[in-house]
């Protein structure tokens, strides 16, 4: 998870680590989908499959004591920042052993120990929180950085512009990471997003970068540079990562033909898959053999299986806990 931001070229060790994390996310999400389909999971959840390169590329350029804020589609961010699958599954199932004692569920997982200030079910709702964490870092003289993950749908929320203005005024160490997966729920973003996305943060004086979100090495390199800037006191930035979600908006969104084609989905899966792209590169560079990659996958799979078993076995909280944690 640790990385020096001095050089942006990604070496074998880091690349393999990122491959492992992305695989873990992919398998976690497949399992989450399965939990839904087998009616073991209460409610719905939003899968991150297809977007793994963004969370892993960004979080690999962060320290453990850096902060992130996350979204309704937050499992990837949470795992990339270092969380354990078992306690995450437990949270998804509403079990007491979950990161939030089962009170938060998929849309609110927080993992304070690894600097995850929480997923947020209000689109754009965490923009202020991330900015405030950056403010706190600066005020306390710490050199921590805060990353605000959000989907391109959050560009519709006025709050984002209010806080980018302050981040810029006060040179706060915050990076706004826009995960553009093309859709706001069931509506293509171009139908609801005018003008030029990057011109928006630029107008507020933020440094901006655009990156192929399916290329985890590129995401890492761009983030590392922005983190270095932020730590050096050069202020906030905005990273636009272009990506795609393979599944529905949530696990129940199965018939998607009225808003996008099967061909489009297939194209991304076949040609732009972040795992496949990194895997090929690792093999081409002879950083790893196919065999080694499969071994990484197997390790991830058994970690997921152990986590799942732990979560399925774990008890629900006692109803009496409902009134705990309202106030400190």
């Amino acid at each position: 998870m640790t990385a020096t931001a001095s050089g942006t070229a990604v070496g074998a060790e880091l690349a393999l680590e990122m491959y492992g994390r992305m695989t873990l996310i992919r398998l976690f999400e497949e399992q989450a989908n399965e939990l839904y389909r087998s009616a073991k999971m209460p409610g719905l959840t939003h899968l991150y499959i297809g977007e793994e390169g963004v969370a892993v590329g960004v979080c690999s350029a962060l320290r453990r004591d850096d902060w992130i804020t996350s979204t309704h589609r937050g499992h990837g961010h949470c795992l990339a920042k270092g969380a354990e699958p078992g306690r995450m599954f437990a949270e998804l199932l509403g079990k007491e052993a979950g990161y939030c004692r089962g009170k938060g569920g998929s849309m609110h997982i927080a993992d304070h120990e690894n600097g995850n200030l929480g997923a947020n079910a209000i689109v754009g709702g965490s923009a202020g929180i991330a900015t405030g964490a950056a403010f706190s870092a600066k005020r306390r003289g710490a050199d921590q950085v805060a990353v605000c993950f959000f989907g391109e749908g959050a560009l519709g929320q006025g709050l984002l512009y209010e806080v980018m203005n302050m981040a810029s005024l006060w040179s706060l160490p915050v990076i706004y990471v826009c995960e553009n997966n093309l859709y706001n729920e069931y509506t293509h973003y171009l139908e609801v997003t005018a003008g030029d996305i990057l011109a928006r943060p630029r107008a507020f004086g933020l440094e901006t970068r655009e990156v192929d979100g399916q290329d985890v090495r590129a995401v890492y390199a761009a983030t590392a540079e922005l983190v270095e800037r932020a730590r050096a006191g050069a202020g906030p930035s905005f990273l636009l990562a272009n990506t795609y979600r393979y599944h529905g908006h949530h696990v129940g969104d199965v018939d998607r033909s009225y808003y996008r084609t099967k061909e489009e989905e297939q194209l991304w899966r076949d040609e732009r898959d972040p795992l496949a792209l990194l895997g090929s590169w690792l093999e081409e560079q002879r950083h790893a053999t196919g065999e080694e990659l499969r071994r990484i996958e197997e390790e991830a799979r058994s970690e997921i299986e152990r986590g799942l078993a732990f979560a399925l076995d774990a008890p629900f909280p006692d109803a009496s806990q409902v009134t705990e944690d309202v106030y400190v």
Binding site: K95, K103, H108, N120, I122, G125, Y258, Y259, A319, V326
Partner: protein
């Protein structure tokens, strides 16, 4: 119902279908009506409540918006001031947090601040209700906030027939109306008269007559109250279930008379208990029926905790038929 149904035919519709029918009829009746919201067009909202409307009325009348709740509400206020009748769709009632300025400072006050010259015939549809395992930011019932704002009318329908008639009234009302649908009701079926009818605001409806105890219930809590009444009947306790239907205007007389008749009252509401709608309803009854009450008015409402995700916890937050029945027993048996 103010206008008699144009036909005696009665349909079996879900709550969602009833809402859809009301919107369809009003879109067809008045070209000034339009719908604005997130994923309201082809998707027909995540709850599929608006299915088919964009196909019938076109994207000029049913518009997908950016995820900008404050913006679409503000746009609705301006459009309403200048000749249109917007129906703004706020997906989850939890997002009322984002539109309170446009609702409370703009929509609600324009008519008054302008000395009666401007008005805002805006309908804002949104949702309420927990127990869908949607956790704290997608489960709130915030009707008390909007009911506290003079200038807004607030509707909480509990049956498909009420939903249809009240929504048509809301759209035709020249004031801003907040219309709140319980998500757990969408799939519930009920009889709905076919064709044109409206239901006036400010008229409580006795959903089940009774003699021993009055249960004032709102929105989906009406079903909870009716289930409790069934239980109680078996034990020889006759509960009257009365639904105010609109919180503003409120049928104070309707509630007070019922409580005076039975001598005992319980209020059941899905908002949080503290400073919630149940407080107003209870206070109004306690004051109006004071001399006729044999026991204090009891309030049942959502626990004063953020709604938790975990099923056994979430289920402990909302009033149940058992709880209502138990409370009624306590009141009746002293």
């Amino acid at each position: 119902m103010s206008s008699a149904p144009s036909a005696q035919v009665v349909l079996e519709l879900t709550f969602a279908q009833a809402i859809n029918a009301a919107l369809k009829e009003e879109l067809a009746r008045d070209p000034a009506v339009f719908i604005l919201g997130e994923d309201v067009a082809e998707a027909g909202t995540p709850f599929k409540v608006l299915a088919g409307l964009v196909e019938e009325f076109g994207p000029e009348r049913v518009l997908d918006s950016p995820i900008s709740e404050a913006g679409i509400t503000g746009l609705g206020v301006g459009a309403a001031m200048t000749g249109l009748r917007p129906v703004v769709d706020i997906m989850f009632g939890d997002f009322l947090t984002l539109v309170m300025d446009q609702l409370a400072n703009q929509a609600a006050k324009t008519h008054y601040m302008s000395g009666g010259k401007l008005n805002v015939p805006l309908t804002l549809r949104t949702t309420m209700g927990a127990t869908r395992r949607s956790a704290a930011q997608h489960s709130q019932s915030l009707h008390a906030w909007v009911a506290h704002v003079p200038g807004l009318k607030v509707v909480l329908p509990s049956t498909p027939a009420d939903a249809k008639g009240l929504l048509k009234t809301a759209i035709r009302d020249d004031n801003p109306v907040v219309f709140i649908e319980d998500k757990m009701d969408y799939a519930v079926k009920g009889e709905v008269p076919d064709g044109e009818y409206t239901i006036p605001f400010g008229v409580a409806d006795v959903k089940r007559p009774g003699e021993d105890v009055t249960v004032v219930a709102t929105s989906s809590m009406v079903r909870v109250a009716l289930a409790a009444a069934e239980q109680l009947e078996a034990e020889g306790i006759s509960a009257e279930v009365i639904d105010p239907r609109t919180l503003v205007p409120l049928d104070v007389n309707g509630l007070v008379s019922s409580a005076q008749k039975t001598g005992r009252a319980i209020v059941v509401d899905e908002g949080h208990r503290g400073y919630g709608a149940s407080a107003e309803l209870a206070a109004v009854i306690a004051e109006g029926a004071f001399w006729g009450l044999d026991a204090p008015v009891r309030r049942l409402a959502a626990l004063d905790v953020p709604i938790p995700f975990s099923p056994p916890l979430e289920d402990a937050t909302v009033p149940t038929p058992d709880l209502v029945a138990q409370t009624a027993r306590e009141l009746v048996r002293g």
